[in-house]
Amino acid sequence: METVTHFESLRPLWAVLVSLLAIPLILLSGERRPNLRESWTLLAAFVKAGLVWSLLPDVLDGRVAVTSLGTIVPGVELALRVDTLGLVFGLVASTLWVLTSFYSIGYVRGAGEHKQTRYFASFALCLSSTIGIAFAANLVTFLIFFELLSLATYPLVIHKETPKAIDAARKYLSYVLPAGLMLVLAIVMTATISSQQGLDFVPGGFLERTDASAPLLRWLFLFYILGVGVKAGIMPLHSWLPAAMAAPTPVSALLHAVAVVKAGVFGVLRVTGYVFGPELLQEIGVWTALAWAAGITLTVASLLAMRQDNLKRRLAYSTVGHLSYIVLGAALLSLASWKGAILHLIFHATMKITLFFCAGAIYVRTHRENISEMVGIGRQMPVTMAAFAIGSLGLAGVPGINGWISKWNLAAGTLQADEPVFLMLLVLSGVLNAAYFFPIVHQAFFRSSDEYPRFGEASPLMVVPLALTAVVSLVLGLVPNLGAHAWDLASKAAVAVIGGGS
């Protein structure tokens, strides 16, 4: 294994703080000066992305940036540490925030949303928490940002303040708050068990060095999965996610397809790979339970997706399914499955955010949310629907688009782990993906309808971001190592956790 060196740096801290510092500026600018207010968002987004990207060369060279902020509870530091896995999540969230910020401006102005100041301020807080989750060096730091993210998302879910949005927000809280408490319980137990080992994330896990008994560890694993599994949408903990589609579409796009839900699967990866570790999970045998939960989720979610006529709800169920691809990859504990899981964390983000961007563009132009009302829309919004086609082909696993690469690795991972039954579930789910996405594309382009007037594309603020994410999905499908070195990063992280041999 290659050597890893640590160095002190303030860049991880600034990457977390920059959007936090933007919040007072956003609030002070207020509803009266929207352009000034949005420029703070954009500035913060660009600076944040720049800072995260600046850490990429270090990580590729095996240098880990560390920021320590002093003791938060006796024996545990509030500390940030940019390892490979953390950087992957940080890159995805911060880069897509730049695009989402432009898109948001187009969306909230196009749709005439109210309380835009609160909206942009909450969004900035969400991104600070997300980067905090990505860079957290230990469980307590992780927990703090994880809970903060739950809280910061609440105003965005309730944003429209319609009875539906209020119900969705209540549902959201009634899922994420108990989950947060389960995570607290798990971390308190870990702190007690591991009083000698500390709570720092270690590739390969640190719990096996303690003398805790197997039954206790099984309970502990359950509490962890209940804690992070709600955000990861593992069935039956998923139903807040379709309800949360009541939020404005940019929120659904960045938070409910990328930041919040990926924080959940990122938590699963941290718990399995960096707290328990593959050897301990094999020993206590809980990985099969997690793998089956994921396997069932990804199948059932695809079936449920087919029954949704509301486009955003269909996308939400599709997200539930795809999150479980990643969870499955993490649970199988093989080199290829981990690599596939991490790649899917990146690639699903670019594809699904494209689809949500498209749904939002359609909504702003036509005020339609149901798939059955989108017949012939492809002729009126060709760029949008072409991007939609790329995203859906990718999620179904068509070669040439990035989704294919991650799915291929996941499939190879099932074989490496000698669990071919999950390969069958993956293939089945791929077919189901095609079955619920292709009809949308087909009716958009190949069936015409005179029922509606001509709409045309949405504002460039919305169309450019969605076209960009679609192009990125396509390019990464052909050259996965371009730009962010996604392939190298995923390999590095997988090797660190699983080890090169197995």
């Binding site: 002093g70 938060i72 809970e147 903060l148 209020i166 607290v184 007690t192």
Partner: protein, 522 residues
Amino acid sequence: MTLESPVQIAFLAAGGVAHESARLVPNASDLPALILVPLIVGVFLVPLLGLLRRRLAYVTTLLILATYAALALTGLRTVLDGSAIHYRMAGWTPPLGIELALDPLSAFVMVTIAVIGLLVTIYAGAAVRRETPEREVAFFALMVVMLLGLSGMVMTADLFNLYVFFEVSSLSGYALMAVGHRKAVVSAYRYLLLGTIGASFYLLGVGFLYVLTGSLNMADVAARLGDLAGNPALSVSLVFMVLGLGLKMALFPLHIWLPDAYTYASSTSTAIIAPVMTKVSAYVLIRMLYFVYGADWSLSELGVGPVVAWLAMGGVVWGSVMALAQQDAKRMLAYSSVAQVGYIGLGLATGHPLALTGAILHILNHAMMKSTLFLVTGSVELSGGSRRLGDWKGLGRRMPLTFVGFTLAALAMVGIPPTSGFFSKWYLALGLADSGQWALLVLLILSGLLTAGYFFRVLERVYAREPREGAVQPAGEATAAMNLPVIALGAGTLLLGLFNAWFVGRVIAQALPAGLNLPGVS
């Protein structure tokens, strides 16, 4: 007798200062008495100057409490190395003479009282005039007497003297509570009756101890208890003490006086009584259990620990469930106090250093949170709004600054990190886990959901709902003097959370009784 006691105390303290005045410049060893001097002066000065001009009562109280807070902070800084300052009243040596002792624990509680007292006074300057007009002078005078009583309770090292201060604070507290709603007179009377029973139980406990040991000085009693462990009279004295103090700190099921008393008292009175009164009783209980009787005997051997712990947990659940059912903001907060006192009870009954740390941290923490929340209900009412939660819809836009404070305190109550509310529960949970109390641990964690239930219900109304037709709405934002304490206390919960490790290592670790050491803190 009790009515004369402030005079007596003033006399004694003055005598003590005079006795030491040979040195002319007071030094650190006089601090325990010095801290009380501004309050004693205030007891006379506030009503006198208030007679001259009503506004002077407020200004005097503010100056007196600022001095008091500065002295209390100096006291805390002086004893942070883990030392204790013993001051002999009028030079009489214990066990015969009365001793004031300032150690890290008493200094910590004193600072809590002083800071809350000072901030509530700033608020009261704007509020009392409107809330209970014509009674300004009485309010400020009573408040100073109450704070004097509480400070005496915290610092005295004499069991009977503690009873005297106990009554001083209680009687002034009843009077403060009776100022307010029409029903306040009745609820305060009920509190008076139950409080007197509580005080009598405490006194009975002291009587037994005196018979057994022949001493009233805490350290002296503790030293003489060693060979009395099997004596049933000792167990009886402890049971009386726990009952009496449990009643005063509203430990479930002895909390029945609390909801009405807090609901009908004026908001400003509640904002000073709710945060400090029950906490000082909890502090006295810690003193008795850990410093006089010894935790090994009282909590483990006699089995008081599990009983109190489970009752406290019962209080957490009962208080939270009742809070969920309330439509009146103050009543909801009152039941929430029952629950929060339960956390303190749970921590002090577990006997684990981490759990006790959580309990002590929660004393300051809950004082700040609950004070903020009661002050906000006061701000809403005084700006023309109502206490009915149904009328709180849309207030977030009408009173944005006030509700910044409310939101911070509410999130701290729920226990969202990095607010201090999270960390006091964190230490509690670590203590329970480390002592293998799994059932209590799980209940503790899940109880956060109930708290979230009643606070998010309010936050949703405040921020995401439109006021209905004919709702009683406040005219606008509260005055700056009212918002300053609210925001300061709200921000305080956040700062205490972020710097909790520093605070725990620097202050609370020193305040723990000998023999209980925090892991990871040198």
